[in-house]
């Protein structure tokens, strides 16, 4: 009986996995096949990938540029915010935390429309890539703040800072030598998240973009709608090649490493003593 249940559940899980993975494999194959309709027997080719590279290269560079500009902005705005929120556990801080999450709860379409009705008439601003950047920062900032806040919330920041202050460290010194090194992991996880989300953002970007500021997902939608399946697939393949390493890095960065804590404890004579 137990064995049957196990087999049934395993079969179910494998079926779910197939549902998720098979289309990805199909799309990768389609991007490399001469004629998808005739199947693999028509031969493999890089022709479609080259065609996408020639036609849509700009969208790839624009997306990378926006993603890193977005990362820089969310670091500048988000890390100090997370620090203040971690230090002041009062009502106002909770309200700010709530407010910050609003742009994620809002559908991208609504946020984009709001930006357009407010700033759409400013010609130069509307047509520049900075307009898209602003949408991306709104959407990704909460992830950076939360990710840093999660790490800062787990350590006793006040005591650490008090110690440093009693030794004569000023605020800037404490922020750069105590706070930043301590939230390194949170910043790393948040950064990967921000870059991944920005590279894939479509809901807002589709309304915010102009013919001269097309990002990768916008180009993808274009290709899906108007070009043959092989080109859409080759384009998707390029997108996978950019996003999957980020995703794997993110999985590695957020995986808990229990061994490290033991090592840290052992390295700390006071803690090691209290345990023995």
């Amino acid at each position: 009986m137990k064995k049957i249940m196990f087999t049934l559940q395993l079969a179910f899980t494998l079926a779910v996995c197939a549902f998720l993975v098979v289309p990805v494999v199909l799309s990768v194959l389609a991007g490399l096949t001469v004629n998808y309709f005739d199947g693999l027997s028509s031969g493999l080719t890089l022709r479609w990938v080259v065609e996408v590279w020639n036609g849509y290269r700009d969208t790839i560079f624009l997306s990378l540029g926006i993603a890193f500009a977005c990362l820089a902005t969310t670091l500048l705005l988000g890390v100090p915010t997370a620090y203040v929120l971690a230090r002041s556990r009062n009502r106002l801080a909770r309200v700010i935390e709530e407010l910050l999450v609003l742009p994620i709860a809002m559908p991208g379409l609504a946020t984009a429309l709001a930006l357009i009705v407010t700033y759409g008439a400013w010609g130069g601003f509307r047509t520049s890539w900075v307009f898209i950047l602003i949408g991306h920062v709104l959407f990704t900032l909460p992830f950076m703040v939360r990710s840093v806040l999660a790490v800062l919330g787990a350590i006793d920041l006040a005591t650490l800072e008090e110690g440093a202050a009693s030794l004569g460290a000023g605020f800037a010194r404490r922020f750069f030598d105590i706070v930043l090194p301590n939230c390194r992991n949170g910043i790393l996880a948040g950064s990967l998240m921000v870059v991944t989300l920005s590279m894939g953002e479509f809901n807002m970007t589709w309304l915010l973009h102009t013919p001269l500021t097309k990002t990768l997902p916008v180009g993808l939608a274009d290709a899906y709608a108007s070009l043959r399946l092989e080109i859409g697939s080759a384009y998707t393949l390029i997108f996978f090649l950019m996003i999957v390493p980020l995703l794997l890095a993110m999985q590695a960065a957020t995986r808990p490493r229990p061994k490290r804590f033991i090592a840290d404890d052992a390295a700390d004579p006071l803690l090691a003593e209290s345990k023995s």
Binding site: P80, A105, L109, L113, T118, F171, F202
Partner: protein
């Protein structure tokens, strides 16, 4: 210290709070005035779109929770060889944007899709449903499974297996253990993950856009009103309501589950 908040506060006020207030005002500035906010209920076409949107979202949530619940508990409880690889493969689509999800549905159920090819070989009939409401449903389930499985797995890890053993030793059947011990234990995770599924399915736009402009769900209606009809006031009113609904669902779920909930994608 509070000075550190100023850059973020300025950015947030200028590019979120002000635009949202403006969006609300624009919504009431059209030919029909503030009645635009009631258009969802008074206009038959929009009302149907609302029903379709809520229907797809509810179906997505139910299907995703069922599938991810079974697979997630299984993957957490049985650490067989290859388990980690399976989990990694199943969470791969986590970072796919809506447009790519739409394309995945086309690869499966589109005109040149796998399901069509197989069904044609078996029955002679080509099964193509990617460009319908059902295709959209499939896309949202595809999108929601990876993140829901992760939530279910981490919640299962915290469940005490002793409770199940106790129930079993008292004579409860396998089914009773699932209904009376496992499901209640996972309830907070189900509520928060379910709310995210629902909110995503209500507000997402990329998947519907890739599959067909014919699919009549709210985000598509807003997009059509804005671009084709240039009815900016109505588009603004509808998107403001859409935003309010998503926010409400997430907030209610957070109160019910007592943990942080946020939609993505």
């Amino acid at each position: 210290m509070i000075l550190l908040l100023i850059p973020a506060a300025l950015f947030f006020t200028a590019f979120f709070i002000l635009p949202m207030a403006r969006l609300f005002l624009v919504g009431g500035s059209g030919a029909s005035g503030w009645a635009a906010y009631a258009a969802l209920l008074t206009d038959a076409g929009h009302f149907n779109a609302l029903l379709a949107t809520l229907g797809v979202a509810a179906a997505t949530t139910a299907a995703t929770l069922l599938i991810s619940g079974i697979a997630g508990v299984f993957l957490q409880r049985h650490k067989f060889p290859g388990n980690a690889t399976l989990v990694a493969m199943m969470t791969l689509p986590l970072a796919f944007p809506g447009v790519v999800i739409g394309f995945m549905v086309i690869m499966l159920a589109g005109r040149q899709g796998l399901i069509g090819t197989i069904s044609e070989a078996l029955t002679g009939d080509k099964l193509v449903f990617a460009y319908s409401l059902f295709g959209l449903f499939m896309g949202y389930v595809y999108f929601s499974i990876p993140r829901t499985i992760l939530t279910v797995m981490s919640a299962t890890e915290k469940l005490d297996p002793k409770l199940e053993e106790a129930a079993r030793s008292l004579g409860a059947s396998r089914w009773r253990v699932v209904v009376d011990v496992i499901v209640p234990g996972l309830k907070p995770a189900f509520i928060s993950a379910g709310a995210i599924c629902f909110a995503t399915a209500v507000g997402a736009f990329g998947t519907a856009f890739t599959l067909a402009t014919r699919i009549n769900v709210l985000p598509m209606v807003i997009y059509t009103e804005f671009t084709l009809s240039a009815n900016i006031a109505l588009a603004a009113a509808l998107s403001f309501i859409l935003g309010a609904v998503t926010w409400l669902v997430l907030t209610l779920a957070r109160t019910a589950a007592g943990s942080t909930v946020a939609a993505a994608g």
